[in-house]
């Protein structure tokens, strides 16, 4: 069976992987034939933290996450299961209790236990929540590895822009077209909205973290994810906006203040990169599978791309090849 996938972010690549596993012939149409730096996945945090996300996400995310994490454990080169540490500054301690009330899968850690988990933070924080079952990965490394694997398995990449505007019906010889364009599909999925996120990559040799750390804040959920070679990713703002190109001074200030509040050593870190993207989201912030003819759209990943993409890909493949309707994510099924 011939499958054409549009988009090479984490959704597109996971779908390609799932179809190839079922011996389909897959071609990916994307803005780039290599790692695409113009999609959300390029800027992702790579936290696999269904427990923490449960604070505001619907239970469906945890279901999808459990499947996806099994996938990443075998596929992602630097999958690290070291948990997540959630802290708050002394003035924001009530937020830690709120967070505990609205989440599951944590246990409280104090003083010496925090020091053992993250020696550099032991002196800074006396109370924290530890989500031991959570993991993280490096998104760019993972996507790049996935692309190599797919190419080895005969997946082809075509560098092309799809014009399926209102006056131009897009057609293809493939048996199924899998539309994984994210916000790029907004003209065919008008309910899709953008949630702008800004993030930073910084470098510091002065501080070491072994796992993602979330710093609770009354307005923005902030996190720092350690990467290889003393790199850290700080993310991310959540602004109701489709804007994809402009990081504001205020957002960057807030992100950097969070890092600085976490540990003053970040004050001397080098800023390597400031990123901006708009996450594709439906009104309920949950991913959806939509069928129109032989086009299947996998979209609305919101801030859960890596957490949901492998599980959505499996559902997509089972629908296309076996006719199994995944009612929990299938929002439209127009033959």
């Amino acid at each position: 069976m011939k499958i054409e996938i549009i988009g090479s972010g984490v959704s597109g690549l996971c779908c390609a992987h799932a179809f190839v596993e079922r011996d389909c012939e897959v071609n990916i149409i994307a803005a780039s034939d290599a790692l695409d730096s113009t999609c959300c996945s390029w800027w992702a945090g790579g936290m696999l933290a269904p427990g923490c996300e449960g604070e505001s996400a619907e239970p469906l995310i945890a279901t999808l996450a459990a499947e996806s994490m099994t996938f990443w454990q075998t596929v992602a080169p630097a999958y690290t299961k070291a948990g997540t540490l959630v802290v708050a500054t002394s003035r924001d301690q009530p937020l830690l209790n709120n967070f505990a009330r609205n989440t599951e899968g944590w246990h409280r850690v104090e003083g010496e236990e925090i020091h053992q988990l993250e020696p550099d933070l032991g002196e800074r924080f006396s109370r924290a929540l530890f989500f031991a079952d959570e993991a993280h990965l490096d998104p760019r490394q993972t996507l790049s590895h996935l692309i190599d694997t797919l190419k080895k398995h005969g997946v082809t990449f075509t560098q092309r822009h799809i014009d399926d505007g209102p006056s131009n019906q897009y057609s293809s010889a493939a048996d199924w077209i899998i539309d994984c364009r994210g916000l790029g599909a907004q003209h065919v999925l008008p309910e899709l909205r953008g949630v702008k996120g800004e993030m930073l990559h910084i470098h510091s040799d002065e501080i070491k973290l072994s796992r993602p750390v979330r710093l609770l804040h009354p307005r923005i959920p902030l996190y720092i994810v350690p990467r290889e070679k003393s790199l850290f990713m700080i993310g991310a703002t959540m602004i109701e906006s489709t804007e994809r190109h402009r990081a504001s001074v205020r957002s960057v200030l807030e992100l950097l203040s969070a890092a600085y509040a976490l540990h003053p050593a970040f004050g001397e870190a080098e800023i390597l990169e400031i990123g901006v993207e708009a996450r594709p989201a439906f009104t309920d912030n949950l991913p959806q599978l939509r069928r129109r003819g032989k086009t299947l759209a996998v979209n609305g990943m919101y801030r859960h791309g890596f957490l949901a993409a492998p599980a959505m890909a499996r559902r997509c493949v089972e629908f296309a090849l076996d006719g199994i309707i995944p009612s929990e994510v299938m929002n439209e099924n127009t033959p």
Partner: protein
């Protein structure tokens, strides 16, 4: 003289428009727009505040060609049927607030404006000097200003002189959930301005605190965090709606004065004397 039925709650009047609900709800920090819409429905609110300082982006979005990058979220809120009250949340200077107000009028085609000029980062306390100045400028330009202010009487007076017809004093700092920090001051404000529409804005954490403000004779409540960050925002919105209505009805019904000594609610006269003597 006691009416047979409770006095029907008269409508809330804001700059000449009448509303049934006395609950104004904020639209930030919900888990998803879908939950926000459900919470608005459960709250029964006729008015929803929206911020635009960060969402607006710069004019037309490059990619979509849409008027503004946050338009889609605002359209979603408009689906609820509620009237939008744009706010200048996050503005720290008069100039910034005035510019944001102009942007709001253009985007939402409404003269309504919740005016916030923040003076202090830790408490998000209003800069009352900047607030009065911005209110004066905006009222003169035809805006119908809802100023977020402290419970200070003199500031309230200056805001009215600037042309505001509605005042929105804080209960306590934004998002703190501490309720009414100074009921005495809020009472004094109510007594000084019996004919002005007064809305408690900010600091409410519990329905009982909203009811308390309404029992003091406040005309309405504006809140956001207490609903948005609740474990179940939709159910909490409904709890607040009931509390606000109960508080308002109680105020209209006229509460008794508190007293130090017990006062039996059943007349004792005529009770057999041995009741209360421990038996025959």
């Amino acid at each position: 003289m006691t009416p047979e039925k409770a006095v029907p709650n008269e409508a809330l009047n804001l700059y000449g428009s009448e509303f049934t609900s006395r609950f104004l709800i904020g639209s930030a920090q919900y888990p998803s727009p879908a939950i926000l819409l459900d919470a608005i429905a459960a709250s029964g609110a006729d008015i929803v505040t929206v911020s635009l300082r960060r969402e607006a982006g710069k004019g037309v979005d490059k990619d979509t060609g849409k008027e503004s990058a946050g338009q889609q979220f605002w359209s979603l809120i408009q689906q609820s049927g509620a009237r939008l009250l744009p706010n200048t949340a996050g503005c720290k200077t008069v100039k910034e607030a005035v510019n944001t107000a102009h942007m709001a009028r253009e985007l939402f085609a409404t003269p309504w404006l919740k005016l916030e000029v923040i003076g202090e980062d830790d408490t998000l306390q209003p800069d009352v000097f900047g607030l009065v100045e911005a209110a004066r400028i905006l009222c003169a330009e035809g805006f119908q200003v809802f100023p977020y202010t402290t419970d200070d009487l003199v500031v309230a007076d200056k805001l009215l002189a600037a042309g505001c017809e509605v005042l929105m004093p804080w209960g306590s700092p934004i998002g703190s959930g501490r309720g009414l920090n100074n009921p005495f001051a809020l009472k004094a404000l109510r007594a000084h301005f019996p004919d002005t529409t007064l809305i408690v804005d900010a600091g409410i954490g519990l329905p009982s605190q909203a009811a308390q403000a309404m029992e003091l004779g406040y005309d309405a409540i504006l809140l956001n965090t207490a609903v948005a960050k609740a474990g179940d925002p939709v159910t909490m919105a409904s709890a607040f709606a009931q509390a606000i209505e109960a508080g308002h009805t109680a105020f209209n019904a006229g509460a008794i004065e508190a007293r130090d000594m017990a006062c039996p609610s059943t007349p004792v006269l005529g009770s057999p004397f041995w009741h209360g003597t421990g038996g025959a």
